[in-house]
Subunit: 224 residues, 2 copies
DNA sequence: CGTGGTTTTGAGCCCCTTCAACCACCGTGG
DNA sequence: CCACGGTGGTTGAAGGGGCTCAAAACCACG
């Protein structure tokens, strides 16, 4: 999937560029890929900034969020290795993106991908990825608009399990506050719902970030 | 292929083809379009159905929604004339679409649009439209996750005003129940927020569906 | 006029938030 | 080795915003 981009990516070692513009692009098929790395909570781009690049996660976790003027925050997605993010219509980012943990990404120039000589298959690949994002976001609308706190947390745990190998043992990269801003709750409520799922015998908390899912089917029933 | 849709549609009790199935669409890039019309609350497609077409609204209003097993509903978008909807990755619809009022749409075969000979400009057009949908949905996530009832209704009125010519006089096509399912509220709360905006002197209700926006800037401030 | 669908209004309650305190972990330095 | 501060997480008590349940009002249409 996305072979042209993947090729460009694998051709290049992961260096620690501070900013895309600071590196020269090599002459390859789609040579605009630039490896970058960010520390925990490092800002990849901010709402209102000039766009121009799309990003692919190599390692780590990225959160994409929007802010209200008074500081209320909504995280629209967590991105894991292999995911792409940063798609914009105009030249302005209307979301911000930060590294949840130390993270490596590759940045691709949007112009390079969609320029005059862009192959149909590549544009179609971008279309597919955008549609995947749209589907995920629409599912999340249902969660935020209509599910209660327990259902939201169950759905979150199942989503994370599905995306990290579907193992019963789950390592969460993000703190309670991020989970809360993703699920439209407060961190206290998230903590209480963890406790409630534990009471119900559906999960076991090895630590705050390590969760064992004891009964995925039951969790699916709870997630509604 | 032109008759395929018409035949499939006419099998459903509450959908009607607008024009004779034999009528050919003009020979343009989008020459596979089939006009269809639907009565109020007519089902355009349902969650779980086989996909294969994308739709463009000609007249009327369409709501796209998702359901939970117990009947809770979330409307992800209202589509007005000129909008396109029905984009799917696989061959299964994971949303349903219905006409809010008597509505005319044109259906395009997805295969026809993205087939072997598809032009890059057309694929790019679809990409842009999908990205517009993604941006709208992400904005709506913030509304559902973090805004209170009054802010949600103010944002809704402004959105509708902006999309229908930005006039101060607004004609809402949809009932309170649909507005509620779009905003993640109950219809009673929506009604109460209408009353509150009226109390505040921000709107005037000519009738339940006809709203005069008295102070757009103040409404924008309320919508956060 | 009735009639059915839609909208408004009222009263009580509950889920989640708010505010606050406490705890658990961890790297640092005396 | 333990005191120490800082971050992150849990737990408790109280309050409120939106929901539920209920009934009345409104309106288009026969």
């Amino acid at each position: 999937m996305l072979t042209e981009i993947a090729t460009a990516e694998s051709l290049r070692p992961h260096t620690h560029a501070a900013f895309p513009a600071s590196r020269k692009a090599p002459e390859t098929l789609l040579s605009v890929g630039v490896p970058m790395s960010f520390p925990r909570n490092g800002e990849i781009f901010a709402e209102g900034e000039t766009a121009g690049y799309v990003y692919k996660v190599v390692s780590g976790v990225v959160r994409v969020s929007k802010l209200l003027p008074d500081g209320r925050r909504q995280i629209s997605a967590f991105h894991l290795p292999g995911d792409m993010f940063g798609f914009e219509i105009g030249d302005i980012h209307h979301c911000s993106a930060e590294a949840v943990v130390p993270t490596k990404v590759v940045a691709f120039k949007w112009q390079g991908l969609l320029g005059a000589g862009a192959s149909t298959s590549l544009v179609r690949e971008l279309l597919t990825r955008t549609m995947i994002g749209l589907r995920h976001t629409e599912d999340h609308l249902l969660l935020l608009g209509r599910k209660n706190a327990l259902e939201r947390l169950a759905a979150f745990l199942l989503e994370m399990a599905a995306r990290s190998g579907s193992a019963e043992m789950l390592d969460l990269a993000m703190p309670r506050h991020d989970i809360a801003d993703y699920l439209g709750l407060t961190l206290e409520t998230v903590s209480r719902m963890f406790a409630e799922l534990k009471e119900m015998g559906q999960i076991k908390l090895e630590s705050a970030r390590r969760v064992r899912l004891l009964n995925m089917d039951k969790l699916r029933a709870i997630a509604a």
